[in-house]
Symmetry: C2
Subunit: 425 residues, 2 copies
C-alpha cells in the first residue's frame, strides 16, 4: 500500500467514454489498496479551441489572461472525471493547481514550479478519497495570479506532486504503450523498451522523441522518482524510466549499446558563410542570437580555409525562430563582418542514444557507414557522451532512422529503447 | 467620477463579436471618467453544454464537482473579455469569484453570499485597470471549495460587488431594453418603464417576470443600490430600479396605480379534496410538503361545506415539483385523511402589480371585471399589499394579460411598469 500518482493526457480523456474508461482504471488502482492522486490534462482539443477563441478577439493576448482562459480546460476535465469516479461508488475530489499547492514563478505561459504544498491533496487521500489535480497550472507565489507551465506541463505537475507526496511511482498515461526503440510509424519492427535510464530518456526527449518532456524527466531524475510510461487503452506494462543503475535489475538483460533512435523534423539550419577567422567573431554572432531570445541546438564551426582566412559557422534552431534569427544576424552583418547567410529548413536530425556507447568503441563509424550504405548524406554532426546526432536532408530522415535501427540490431530480440507520440501538456 | 459596476449576461457575450461589442461599451464607460468593474456570465449556452457533459458521465453529479465544472464557463468569458478590452488599449484584469473576495456558505449550487472582500478588485481599479469578475461563483468560507450561487447568481454577484465597492450604480445588461409593463410578445403595446420601486420589482420577479432575479433585487433593496436594467445592444436608457420615494423624482410623472402585468406559466395546481374540517389538518398537509422540500406559492382554502364538514385546500407549486408533492401526499393519505388529489399543470398565473394599489379602492373589482369580459375564468385568487394574482387556464393567460393591460390603461401615454426576458444567471 502506497501512493500512486497517475497522469492522463488529453487523448485519454477526449470524451465521456474516455473519461469513464479512465475512471474505471483509477478505481481499480484504488481498490488494489493504493492511495491514488490523478493529474489530468484538458479534454482532447479543448486547449486549441480556447486558443482559437482568444485569437478571435486578440492576436497576441496578455499572458495573465491567456493563462486564466486555458486553465478552464483542466477545470472541466478534472470535475467531470471526479463525477465519473463518483458514479463508480468511489468518492473523488478535484483540485485546481492552486488548491493543490502548485506554487510557481510569475512567468505566464511558461511558469516554473518553485514549491508544492499539497496539504489539501493529502487530506483528501487520508480521507479515503481519490484526489484529482488539474495539470499544467499553478499559482504565482508573488502575484497570486493563475499561471500555466507550458509544454509538458501536466507531466511535470504529476512528477512534482509525486515527489512532494513521496509517491511510489508516477504513471504517465497516453495513447501509446511506452517508449520505443524508434518511431513505429517509420520502423515497423521497433520494440517497446521495458526499462530505460533518466539520462537516455532526456537525450531522447531533447532530440525529437515526444512521449515525455524534458522538464518532467529532469524533475524525476533530480528527485529519483520512477516514471512508468503506459497506455490508458490497455493493461500492459509500459516503459519504466529509472536510475541508470536500476535499468539492469532484470538479470536476463544485457546492457544495450544503443537504446534507441530518435529523430526530429522541427529544426532549421543556418550557415554563416565567410566569417573572419579571428577572436570574438563567434561571440558576436551568438551574442546577437541570444539577444534575440533564440534557443540554439547544434553548433558547428568548420576549419578555416587557410588561403582566405575565412570560416563558416553553422547552427540549428527551431524552424519557428528561423526568420527572427536571420533578421537579427542580417541587421548585425556590418558589425560582425560575415559574407552571407544560408538558411535551410528542409533538414532533419537523427540521433542514436545509448548509455552503453561510453564503453564501446567504433559506434560512430558503424553509424556513419550505415548511413552511407543507405545513400544518406551527412550535413552536420554533434555528439554527447551517450548520443551521436547527424543532420540530414529532411526527405532522408526515414531512411536514416531505419538504417541506424537495423545497424544496431534494434529490431532483433534484445529489447531496447525509444521514441514517438503526441505532444502532451 | 465614480465606480460603475456593469453586469453582462450570457446573451450579450455569446460569441467573439458580442464580446468585442461589450468591450467597446466598457472602454467608453471608462473613458467617460468612471472606474469600471464588470461582472460577466458564461458565454451563450456554455453552462448548458457543461451540464450536458456532466450528465454524460453522471445522472446526479456531486454538487462540489458540478460547481467546479460550471465555474469554468465564467472563467472563459471573463478572460476573453479582458483580452478584448486590452485590444482596445485599455488594461483589464480578470478575477474569479474567489479572487474577487466573494465569500459564500458551502451550499453547492445555491450558495449564499456572506461577505464580499474585494481587495484585489480595488487594487486593480486604483491602478487604472478595468476589473472583470466572474459572476455566479464564490468560495466557501468553511471548506474553501468553489461554489455557485444558483439562478440569478451573476446579477446577485454584481449587486453585492457594487455594494461592497460603494458604486454609484449597478448596471444589468441583457438583450432587452429594460422592464416593460407586460411581456411585449403578448402585449405589443407594452411600454418600457423608466423608474420602478424595489418592492414592485420584487413582486414582478416573484410572479413570473424574468428580467431580474428576486435575490438580486432583495440585495439591492437592503443596501439601497440603484439598478439600471438596460440592453447591451443599444445606448438607450433602460429601467431604473430604485427606492419607492425616488420613483417620483421625475416631476412630470404621476403615481401609477398599476405599474405592470406579470405572468407565469411555470406552476401547477394541486387540490386536496375532502379534507376533514378540523384543527391540525392544514398543518399535516403542509408539514408533509415541507418535509419533501417543496416550495409552495399560492395557498387557498375553501369555506367548508356545512353538510359534509369537509373542505378543499388548493395550492400552486413549480411544475418540476409536482410529482414529488403528489407522491408525498399520497403516501400520507391515511394519516391525513383526505379523499383524493387533483393535479393540474395546465394553469397560468396572471398578476397586476402597483404601489398605487394601496390607496386606490376598486382595483380588484376592475381586474376581475376585465377578465370576465374577456371570457377568462378565475380558478384561484391571492393578494398582497401591492399585487393581485389570479390562476387561470394556461391557454387563457395571454387573453388575461391583454385584458388587464388594457383595463388599467397601461398602453396609454402614461408610461409605467414590467416584465419579460430570458433566464440569466
Amino acid at each position: 500500500m502506497g501512493i500512486v500518482v497517475q497522469k492522463y493526457g488529453g487523448s485519454s480523456v477526449a470524451d465521456a467514454a474516455g473519461i469513464k474508461r479512465v475512471a474505471r482504471r483509477i478505481v481499480a488502482t484504488k481498490q488494489a489498496g493504493n492511495d491514488v492522486v490523478v493529474v489530468v490534462s484538458a479534454m482532447g482539443d479543448t486547449t486549441d479551441e480556447l486558443i482559437d477563441l482568444a485569437n478571435e478577439v486578440s492576436p497576441n493576448p496578455p499572458g495573465r489572461e491567456l493563462d486564466m482562459l486555458l486553465t478552464a480546460g483542466e477545470r472541466i476535465s478534472m470535475a467531470v472525471l471526479a463525477m465519473a469516479i463518483g458514479e463508480l461508488g468511489q468518492k473523488a475530489r478535484s483540485f485546481t493547481g492552486s488548491q493543490a499547492g502548485v506554487i510557481t514563478d510569475a512567468e505566464h505561459g511558461r511558469a516554473k514550479i518553485i514549491d508544492v504544498t499539497p496539504g489539501r491533496v493529502q487530506e483528501a487521500i487520508a480521507n479515503g478519497d481519490v484526489a484529482i489535480v488539474a495539470g499544467f497550472q499553478g499559482v504565482s507565489q508573488t502575484t497570486k495570479d493563475i499561471t500555466t507551465l507550458g509544454r509538458g506541463g501536466s507531466d511535470t505537475t504529476a512528477v512534482a506532486l509525486a515527489v512532494a507526496l513521496k509517491a511510489d511511482v508516477c504513471e504517465i498515461y497516453s495513447d501509446v504503450d511506452g517508449i520505443f526503440t524508434a518511431d513505429p510509424r517509420i520502423v515497423p519492427a521497433a520494440r517497446q523498451i521495458p526499462r530505460i535510464s533518466y539520462e537516455e530518456t532526456l537525450e531522447m526527449a531533447a532530440n525529437g522523441a515526444k512521449i515525455l518532456h524534458l522538464r518532467c524527466v529532469e524533475y524525476a531524475r533530480r528527485y529519483d522518482m520512477p516514471i512508468h510510461v503506459r497506455s490508458s487503452f490497455s493493461d500492459k506494462e509500459g516503459t519504466w524510466v529509472v536510475r541508470a543503475e536500476d535499468v539492469l535489475k532484470d538479470e536476463t538483460m544485457e546492457q544495450a549499446i544503443i537504446s534507441g533512435v530518435a529523430h526530429d523534423r522541427s529544426e532549421a539550419k543556418v550557415t554563416v558563410v565567410g566569417v573572419p577567422d579571428k577572436v570574438g567573431e563567434a561571440a558576436a554572432i551568438f551574442g546577437t542570437l541570444a539577444a534575440a531570445q533564440i534557443n540554439l541546438d547544434m553548433i558547428v564551426q568548420n576549419v578555416s580555409a587557410t588561403d582566405t582566412n575565412l570560416t563558416d559557422i553553422s547552427f540549428t534552431l527551431p524552424r519557428a525562430d528561423g526568420r527572427t534569427a536571420t533578421a537579427a544576424l542580417t541587421k548585425a552583418q556590418g558589425d560582425i563582418g560575415f559574407e552571407r547567410l544560408q538558411y535551410n529548413d528542409s533538414i532533419g536530425k537523427v540521433s542514436i542514444i545509448g548509455a552503453g556507447m561510453r564503453s564501446a568503441p567504433g559506434i560512430s563509424a558503424k553509424f556513419f557507414a550505415a548511413l552511407a550504405d543507405a545513400g544518406v548524406n551527412i550535413e552536420m554532426i554533434s555528439t554527447s557522451e551517450i548520443r551521436i546526432s547527424v543532420v540530414v536532408a529532411e526527405e532522408q530522415v526515414d531512411a536514416a532512422v531505419r538504417a541506424a535501427h537495423e545497424a544496431f540490431n534494434l529490431d532483433a530480440d534484445e529489447v531496447q529503447a525509444v521514441v514517438y507520440g503526441g505532444t502532451g501538456r
